[in-house]
Amino acid sequence: MGKNIKNGFDEVEIIQRRDGAVDAKFVGPLNARGRRALADARLLALALTLPAGQNAGTAGRGGDDTDETELLAYLLDELSDARRNELEHSIRGNARAIGRLMKLRTALNPVADKRGLHRPELAARNILRRTGQALEVREVGKKLEFRERHPQLRPGPKTGAMLNDLLDRASTPIFGGDLGQEARGMLARWEVLTRTAKQPQAYDGVDSELQQLGRRLADVLLELEEASNQLARTIRRTIFDTVDAVPPRDLPIRTAGASKAGASVFPAKLPGLSEPTEDGLPVWSDTKEVQAGAWSLLLEGSGVPSPILSVTIRRLDQNEMPDLTLVQPNRGFETANVSSAGTASVRLPVGDSMLLAQGEKEVWQIPLILLWGK
């Protein structure tokens, strides 16, 4: 007989798995839909054990002490075979336990509910997210070295269209003006160079010219952002002065330019923000101080046996100590334990990552990139 495939999984296999008629080791793991179907098949099997008549409602009164987390693990197929069998036998025919399981199953269905969004929205709005100085990190011998990362345009299929759209807006008489026109000229050149660089007969130095242009363009974009922020603040102030009952609002993400960083709070012998060298690139240094709002983070690290980033936190005022987390986009995150002295260590992965300094009122994001093989 052929398989009964109805909802993208084999229903016969689900029943056989549920009843222990096949060994899961030989048929492989289930996907999410299969696990959901297995949970429903188990619930149906339990519902079929309910006694008929008046007894159905009261069966198991007061005799069900199973912890809800265990019931949840049962539904998500996280229990061992032995524990699952034991649990199933203890709740067979127990209306109260089966009812609890069914209610819990309902809670496992995500529901778009705007009521639930109120608090997270408020919490997210109350926390300011700011981006600090981006850093490049490299491994030299046993140490890590740091340097400031210059903003660079990220190449992509939609980059040109997005920037053109942005510059259309920025070139309106309200703000931008010459800045927008200048950026537009640079963008046109950047697009030509991008195409040229892909061709086999591209001339020497096109990559370097492309990079320089990308950096200049990124600078102009930051200037435009600052101009638009100023405009937004002016409009906001005017609204506050002229309109009643305006709801509080803030920009979700702000960029703090490196040049605006405050003075170092660490001993003077440690290098502060490095000055660009003749080739326009910042120098490498084995310690780096980054300003992050109410905190100053001193970064250093070792490269042996694997790259470890050490952070020493200083508070610039009587602020709380932040929580530190290193986020690796699309991979995961690692939280760091901050000691009472304000020190913490965290493994630094190769490639892009982001160090988060998180407080009650603001979160600072420090973009990092650990270069490989340089």
């Binding site: 007989m1 009964n4 909802n7 229903e11 016969v12 008629a21 996907n31 999410a32 839909r33 696990r35 959901r36 949970a39 429903d40 098949a41 149906l44 099997a45 519902a47 079929l48 054990t49 309910l50 006694p51 008929a52 008549g53 409602g57 809800e68 949840l72 998500l76 209306a95 109260r96 089966i98 009812g99 609890r100 069914m102 209610k103 199953r105 309902t106 809670a107 496992l108 269905n109 995500p110 778009a112 509910d113 639930g116 969004l117 109120h118 919490a123 997210a124 979700p252 929580d323 987390t325 690796q328 699309n330 991979r331 995961g332 995150f333 939280t335 982001m354 998180q358 407080g359 994001q365």
Partner: protein
């Protein structure tokens, strides 16, 4: 988008996006956690406190860039972790409430921990299943009886029916599918929250 029945890794990736301030990831996470949080609050607190406690739990989970959620180690289901955090928060809040000032003779009776509403729902469900079972073919009724009432294994059922185990699995699957359909057809309007187990094709 992760599924509650998916691997824990999917929730870890979602949480990673939330930590970076991705608002759409935040919405997805709220959609997933909302039913669990409501379930916990409704289970442990009196109705007059539901709204406040739900908001307290959200605030707790979201504080300091979801610091509490960052403590999830990946061992065990993420929703189970959230369940425990929410329950502990609700308990803490309830413990911190001032004792009622009303004299004890005026206080209402303690609520029945066996939840009379749930008892009625279970009674109704058992009746729906009994009726649906009666409408199945004799073969399907028999195999369901052997498996679920007598708790026999597939091997034992095969011996009893003088068939192979290869017959039992597919026949039982078809019988349960028919049963599910019958229950859904005739009782969907009063299945309430239990409908999710019977109406998965909807």
């Amino acid at each position: 988008m992760p599924d509650p029945f998916d691997n824990p890794e999917e929730y870890r990736l979602l949480l990673t996006s939330v930590l970076k301030g991705d608002w759409s990831a935040e919405r997805t996470l709220v959609d997933h956690l909302g039913p669990i949080i409501r379930h916990v609050v409704h289970q442990h607190a009196p109705p007059r406190l539901w709204e406040d406690l739900t908001q307290d739990v959200w605030t707790h989970l979201w504080a300091r860039n979801c610091r509490v959620l960052q403590r999830w180690t990946g061992e065990g289901p993420f929703l189970g972790f959230v369940w425990v955090v929410a329950r502990n928060k609700v308990w803490d809040k309830l413990a911190a409430l001032p004792p009622p000032a009303a004299p004890i003779e005026d206080a209402p009776d303690i609520a029945d921990p066996d939840d009379p509403e749930l008892n009625v729902e279970m009674m109704q469900l058992a009746e729906c299943i009994r009726r649906a079972k009666a409408r199945l073919s004799p073969t399907h009724q028999e195999i369901i009886h052997l498996r679920h009432d007598l708790d026999l294994s597939h091997q034992e059922i095969a011996e009893k029916l003088s068939r192979t185990t290869g017959y039992v699995g597919p026949t039982l699957a078809r019988a349960e599918d028919k049963l599910r359909e019958r229950v859904w057809e005739t009782c969907r309007d009063h299945l309430g929250t239990f409908g999710i187990t019977f109406g998965r094709d909807e």
